[in-house]
Amino acid sequence: MDLDALMRCVGTTSCIVTQLTSGMIIGMLLFLIASGVTLIFGVLNVINFAHGSLYMIGAYAAWTFYQLTGSYFISAFGAAVAVGILGIAFERFLMSKVYGSNVLMQLLVCYAVVLISDDLIKIIWGPVSLSMGMPVEFRLPPLRFFGGVVPPFYIFMIVAAMAIGLLLWLVIARTRFGNIVRAAAVNGPMVSALGIRVNLYYAAVFGIGSALAGAAGALAAPVRSLTPGMGFSILIESFIVTVIGGMGSIVGAFVASIIIGLTRSFGSIGFPLFVDGVMFLIMALVLIFKPSGLFGRPHNR
């Protein structure tokens, strides 16, 4: 425990700015992953325990595309699309076979996919960790706000994640596609009876959720080291985010991601050993006092 350090940090604007931005990038990565988890859960009523693997594959794919093309924007876009396609294949060939069965079967399918993808990553990219380094586009002098130093890439990451989140929310809330998806979430067979091919929408939702994870991986690649198994710890945090924010709620995922991101960044100064504990404490409190999450609908539980 070093609360003095935390108080000292809160006393200086430079430290606040630094911690705020690092908290925000943690939060935005979490948001992209958690919104995918929550979207897939909200519509298909399955928990994708393999979502972390999609994030990992996104990061590795971005790394490879960047080596090939040298352009970060192309590789980030390519990684998101590639992971989205992979997600659709995963849904069609594996997950859709266990929709009707109990959670145990879904869990086992995801467990198998996590094992296979971790091992495939080791075979293709090797077991040692890789790092992408700062892409050429962002090798710019750092920006200064109130004495705090902020790398331009962090700004890009935060803005990009927020833009993706906003776009997702618009698509779900404002378009015909979104209407059908929300209807299918409430009553799939009914939507199907109206002559809409629900399976296509399920696959599309899974694809979108996967592409979000792929985009998160691509955004994380320059600032995180790439290791096989990197997806799992972020998966756990994204679960915590979905529980706090409420299952099925994208707005909830956004708010909860920022809470967790800031808890992590400020906590790492004040109580580094207890950061995980504090995150779980927040989650436990939410579960006890508002079990459906901050923005969740009670019946979704």
Partner: protein, 337 residues
């Protein structure tokens, strides 16, 4: 013979069979295999009390395996406890941990339950990794676990350790068997099949689930203690999520509807592991593919499938006998008229 006495007789027979293995001069590798199998077998068997009998799909059961292992190992390393005292202490600690986690989790629905147990397990794992001064971090509990003599038993001796583990293992299995054949066990099945009906019948559903969760955690803790005694150390991967995943897979492999199914699954998985390791270093890949084939191809565990086939055949045979009897009766009636 009533069911209870028959079960006890089976337990005795199982114990004698296990104890006879070293007598027949089995190579140490086989004895080691059995010891590992017993430790992981208790993990899988106790998890099946949750998954198979109560419908509580826990993805964090390895937490209690690790908590038993670490609590026992740390108590022994402190030098203040005898083996039985440390054993009891580890179980009490595991029960307390399960009480806290269970109290938060048992009221939730299936999906929440699965990933919250997983999340708590990762918290526990991170505590083990992070608290280096106490747990040794990713190195695990180093320096061996002291095994002082108690009541004339010396667990530093491999044979006595083996006997001790066999007895503890059989006692745990017998307890589980008593539990699932008791009214409590049938209450668990009732909750699994129809929670609302159980509540209407006056069953305190959360309390029964919590009790089941704690008992199951304690048995998993014993498994962890046996493993610690055997490998003379405790390692963070005892509590890693892959260990929970393996335990679930053992249940699938063996079948959750047969009482000893998870144990069979444990043996199959350990054999599968040992075989693939000799051919390739990519055991996870092989394991993953096997899981996919089983889940998507067979849809259930091989033993469950065999049990179902046998049951179907028995029913078909009974039906045939009944048909024959009916036909005979009809014949007689016709002849009589």
């Amino acid at each position: 013979m009533t069911g209870r006495w028959r079960d006890l007789a089976w337990a005795g027979a199982g114990l004698i069979a296990l104890l006879l293995v070293p007598v027949f001069g089995a190579p140490p590798a086989i004895r080691d295999f059995i010891m590992f199998g017993m430790a992981y077998g208790l993990l899988a068997m106790s998890l099946n009390l949750l998954i198979g009998y109560s419908g509580l799909v826990s993805f964090g059961h390895a937490m209690f395996f690790a908590s038993g292992a670490y609590a026992f190992g740390l108590a022994m390393q402190s030098g203040k406890f005898s083996i039985p005292a440390a054993f009891a202490l580890a179980i009490v600690f595991t029960a307390a941990l399960a009480l806290i986690v269970g109290a938060i989790c048992v009221r939730l629905n299936e999906i929440y339950f699965a990933f919250l147990t997983l999340a708590f397990q990762m918290l526990f794992y991170n505590v083990i990794l992070g608290w280096v001064s106490f747990t040794g971090g990713d190195q695990g509990l180093m320096g061996g676990i002291p095994r002082p003599k108690f009541l004339g038993i010396d667990l530093a001796d491999r044979t006595q350790l083996y006997v001790f583990c066999c007895v503890a293992f059989i006692i745990c299995i017998a307890i589980l068997r008593q539990l699932v054949t008791s009214p409590f066990g049938y209450t668990l099945r009732l909750i699994r099949d129809n929670q609302e009906r159980a509540a209407f019948l006056g069953v305190n559903v959360p309390l029964v689930k919590l009790t089941c969760f704690v008992i199951s955690a304690c048995v998993a803790g014993v498994g962890g203690i046996l493993l610690t005694l055997f490998v003379s150390g405790a390692y963070p991967n005892f509590g890693f999520w892959t260990t929970s995943g393996e335990a679930i897979f053992m249940i699938l492999l063996g079948g959750s509807n047969v009482f000893l199914g998870p144990l069979v699954g444990t043996v199959i998985l350990r054999l599968l592991n040992d075989i693939t390791v000799t051919y390739t270093s990519h055991t996870e890949l092989v394991l993953g593919i096997v899981i996919l084939i089983l889940v998507l191809g067979l849809r259930k565990g091989p033993l469950d499938l065999i049990a179902e086939r046998l049951e179907n055949r028995r029913q078909a045979a009974a039906q045939a006998v009944r048909d024959a009897a009916d036909a005979g009766a009809a014949e007689t009636r016709k002849g009589g008229s």
